[in-house]
């Protein structure tokens, strides 16, 4: 029995080394269809790489924006700059509370914002954000917070990508990467905002979504709020306008709102603004006209002009 356990232990150590080397080899040398669970996406849609590089230079700002693509495509930092407000948009693709937690642990101390505008949506409670984690791993330098998040998500793609991303950190490939400011129809604006400057056609149709609220996300959400409150930062939750064609299950919406309202000030811009589909480029995202209207309304709600 002792011999068995000893040999198994040695074998597992061998297998771990083999596995890590194998992931790095596959990540470097084989096409994507030979490595479906290694999803390294540096410079993917959303300009996460540029944003996560820029945030390292940010220090003591007035407003920090957080959230998913509705945040980095919805909050135009230039509108705030015109009013003398220093802001930064730290939204990332598909960001859920688990990813917000990682981002804040990594950067909050340095950014030291006076206020956080946290764009929230029911979807952020729905999944564990595997895709979003992969996006952050691929576009930022990884540390122990990355390992903690990977363990919370517990997904093989997330583990593999973390291993490969760490390898890329070590060999210095990420530093050498240069991301285009203009990609497809998107333009990265200094401060973290991504402008969809070209209008594309999109067929709006009824999209009814049902999902379950994940307990791990509730826990992460409360930790995020706790972290922000501990630093004495003013926190405001906002829900971005979405197309009326996108229907979210009523029960989920009620549960979502009760969770958010229990932790702070909350504004649903679907109630404050009544925007038709002319203000959206797809069911979830505002176009440039929509962003202007949304920004102006947010400035009014936050009383920024008066301050």
């Amino acid at each position: 029995m002792k011999r068995f356990i000893k040999h198994i232990t040695i074998f597992f150590l061998f297998a771990i080394v083999f596995y890590v080397c194998g992931i790095c080899f596959l990540g470097e040398f084989v096409p994507s269809y030979f490595k479906p669970n290694v999803k390294y996406i540096i410079g993917a849609s959303g300009h996460s790489y540029t944003r996560l590089q820029e945030v390292k230079e940010v220090d003591s700002i007035d407003i920090l924006f957080l959230g998913n693509s509705q945040a980095y495509r919805g909050f135009d930092t230039r509108a705030f700059e015109k009013l003398g407000i220093r802001s930064f948009n730290l939204g990332t693709s598909g960001q859920t509370f688990l990813q917000t937690k990682l981002i804040l642990k990594r950067y909050l101390e340095k950014i030291r914002p006076k206020q956080i505008v946290f764009q929230v949506s029911p979807y952020m409670f729905g999944s564990l954000g595997a895709e979003s984690s992969i996006d952050i791993f691929s576009n930022d330098i990884n540390d122990l917070h990355s390992v903690e998040m990977a363990l919370s998500i517990n997904n093989i793609q997330v583990y593999n990508t973390l291993v490969y991303s760490k390898f890329k950190d070590v060999i210095g490939d990420k530093h050498a990467f240069i991301e285009e400011k203009e990609k497809g129809n998107d333009l990265y604006i200094k401060g973290g905002y991504v402008e969809r400057y070209k209008m594309t056609s999109y067929t709006f149709k009824d999209l009814d979504t049902v999902f379950e609220i994940n307990k791990k996300q509730i826990k992460a959400f409360k930790e995020v709020v706790h972290m922000i409150n501990d630093k004495g930062i003013d926190l405001v939750f906002v829900k971005a306008p979405i197309s009326k064609d996108l229907i979210i299950n009523k029960n989920i919406l009620i549960e979502f709102e009760s969770l958010i309202k229990s932790e702070g000030e909350y504004y649903d811009f679907n109630l404050l603004l009544s925007l038709n589909n002319d203000y959206f480029y797809d069911s979830n995202h505002l176009n440039i006209n929509g962003v202007d209207v949304y920004g102006a309304s947010l400035i009014e709600v936050l009383n920024i002009g008066e301050k």
């Binding site: 068995f4 074998f11 297998a15 083999f18 596995y19 994507s32 269809y33 593999n160």
Partner: protein, 479 residues
């Protein structure tokens, strides 16, 4: 709890260490520990159905005791009937109630009579078809005096609920497994290593081959008319490999896990796709179920030691019942029936020598027969996989058209290449180990340790790189 889950990856080493480290001093303590862990294993999925295993266990245990106590034929028959009614009753209610009700209603409506019935929202308890058959065989064997009933309650309970094979077999016989619960188990290094090799191969088959093929099969079977003939042909082949890799993978893991605890379970698959006839296929596919039907239905009906017409009837009964065992749907019944027809054609027209031969001479004829058998079996799987007869018919009708010569549209060339490489690897390794109890038993045994370890690590790497991010249940769980 699924074998391919993180939960099980934690559960197994923990249980293994406690079993051999703390519980090894007494058989009874080990058996009680097995019962507890088996109930936790099953309850992880849904604890509400644990009582069904409990009922089956209690009834068959006391039926066994009763059969030993009473000599009166009348009383013995009554006891056997109690066991049959309990086990088959549980199975009929949970698995077939809605099927019978629906067909009963439809039959009445054919005669212009509408009757109102209420179907129940019944959840099918995982593994119900397996453990009911296992306990039932115990009562029948005791009744027939083939085995002596046990009075060791813990050994019997552990035999019924032994977690490696509880939810999807192999369906064990008391004659083989029960005595193993009544004698002291010793840990053997070679058994442990061999068990782990078999588990690894099973996981590779399930998580890499079955789940990868399954992804595309699901797409094709949702709307077959949307795809070209070549796509549907490839889909039919993919499903053949999916179901084999899924179910034989499960069996490999179950047998391997049992070996870690000092138990030897029956071989359930013996490279069935290398069979050169449908008759041979059935000797190699899901062996524990085939032999169950042989021993408890086919032979009691008279087997082949009877008139030709009666023999044909017996074969039809066994295959139709086998189809129905898989699920409460006409697709399974038709699948079973068609297999019976092919079986009979083969039996009646093939030379006896060809049917019974166990060792092949690998000639062109053998290759042709094997490919032909695989094609027939793959065709039959269409009925097995389809949601209903309409989908099966749609699939078959669209399978035969001029688009058979076009490139399949549902998959990219790169992904197809990956799957074909894995299928080639599966066939190669299974072929090399076709005479062993599992494919990796002697595979690479003569190579240096570093090569063997690298190969096993490569399998782990493939599992990590190609498996689904979500844990996919085994197909046979639904039966």
């Amino acid at each position: 709890m699924l074998f391919n889950s993180i939960d099980f990856a934690i559960f197994l080493p923990l249980v293994f260490l406690i079993y051999w480290g703390i519980m090894h001093k007494s058989i009874t303590v080990q058996n009680i520990f097995i019962i507890l862990t088996s109930y936790v294993f099953y309850g992880w999925w849904d604890w509400r159905f644990l009582f069904l295993i409990g009922i089956s266990t209690l009834v068959d245990y006391f039926v066994g005791i009763g059969l030993k106590t009473y000599d009166s034929q009348k009383k013995r028959k009554a006891l056997l009937l109690l066991s049959i009614l309990t086990n088959i009753g549980i199975l009929l209610f949970f698995k077939y109630y809605n099927f019978f009700l629906e067909n009963f209603t439809n039959a009445f409506s054919l005669f212009g009579k509408e009757i109102s019935t209420t179907s129940l929202q019944i959840i099918l308890p995982v593994g119900i078809s397996f453990y009911t058959f296992q306990t039932l065989s115990y009562s029948i064997d005791v009744y027939k005096k083939k085995i002596t009933p046990t009075s060791d309650f813990f050994a019997f309970t552990a035999f019924v609920c032994f977690f490696p094979q509880l939810v999807a077999g192999p369906i064990e016989r008391a004659k083989n497994l029960l005595p193993q619960f009544q004698k002291k188990r010793y840990f053997e290094y070679s058994n442990g290593v061999d068990g782990l090799k078999q588990i690894l191969w099973g996981l590779f088959k399930k998580m890499v081959i079955a789940d990868t093929c399954g992804h595309y099969v699901d797409i094709l079977y949702t709307n077959p008319s949307d795809f070209s003939s070549s796509s549907l042909l490839l889909g039919a082949i993919f499903f053949s490999f999916q179901i084999y890799a899924d179910f034989s993978g499960y069996s490999d893991i179950a047998i391997g896990v049992a070996r870690l605890f000092g138990f030897q379970l029956k071989q359930n698959f013996a490279t069935p796709y290398f069979s050169s006839s449908v008759i041979e296929f059935w000797k190699r596919w899901h062996i524990s179920l085939s032999t169950w039907f042989r021993d408890y239905i086919y032979i009691p009906l008279g087997g082949n030691k009877t008139s030709r017409s009666r023999f044909i009837f017996n074969i039809l009964v066994v295959f139709v019942v086998s189809g129905f065992w898989h699920g409460a749907s006409w697709t399974f019944i038709l699948w079973g029936f068609l297999h019976a027809v092919i079986y009979l054609i083969t039996f009646l027209f093939m030379k006896k020598k060809e049917i019974v031969k166990t060792k092949h001479i690998y000639t062109i004829r053998y290759v042709f027969n094997t490919v032909f058998t695989f094609s027939i079996v793959s065709f039959m799987w269409i009925f097995f996989r389809s949601e209903n007869l309409d989908i099966a018919l749609e699939y078959i009708l669209n399978l035969f058209s001029s688009s058979i010569f076009s490139f399949p549209t549902f998959i990219s060339k790169g992904k197809l290449l990956v799957i074909l490489l894995f299928l080639g690897m599966l066939l190669f390794i299974e072929w090399k180990g076709k005479n062993e109890s599992h494919a990796l038993k002697k595979y690479m045994n003569t190579y240096p340790k570093i090569m063997r370890w690298s190969f096993y690590s490569l399998l782990i790497l493939f599992i990590g790189v190609f498996s689904n991010s979500d844990e996919t249940p085994f197909i046979y769980f639904q039966f």
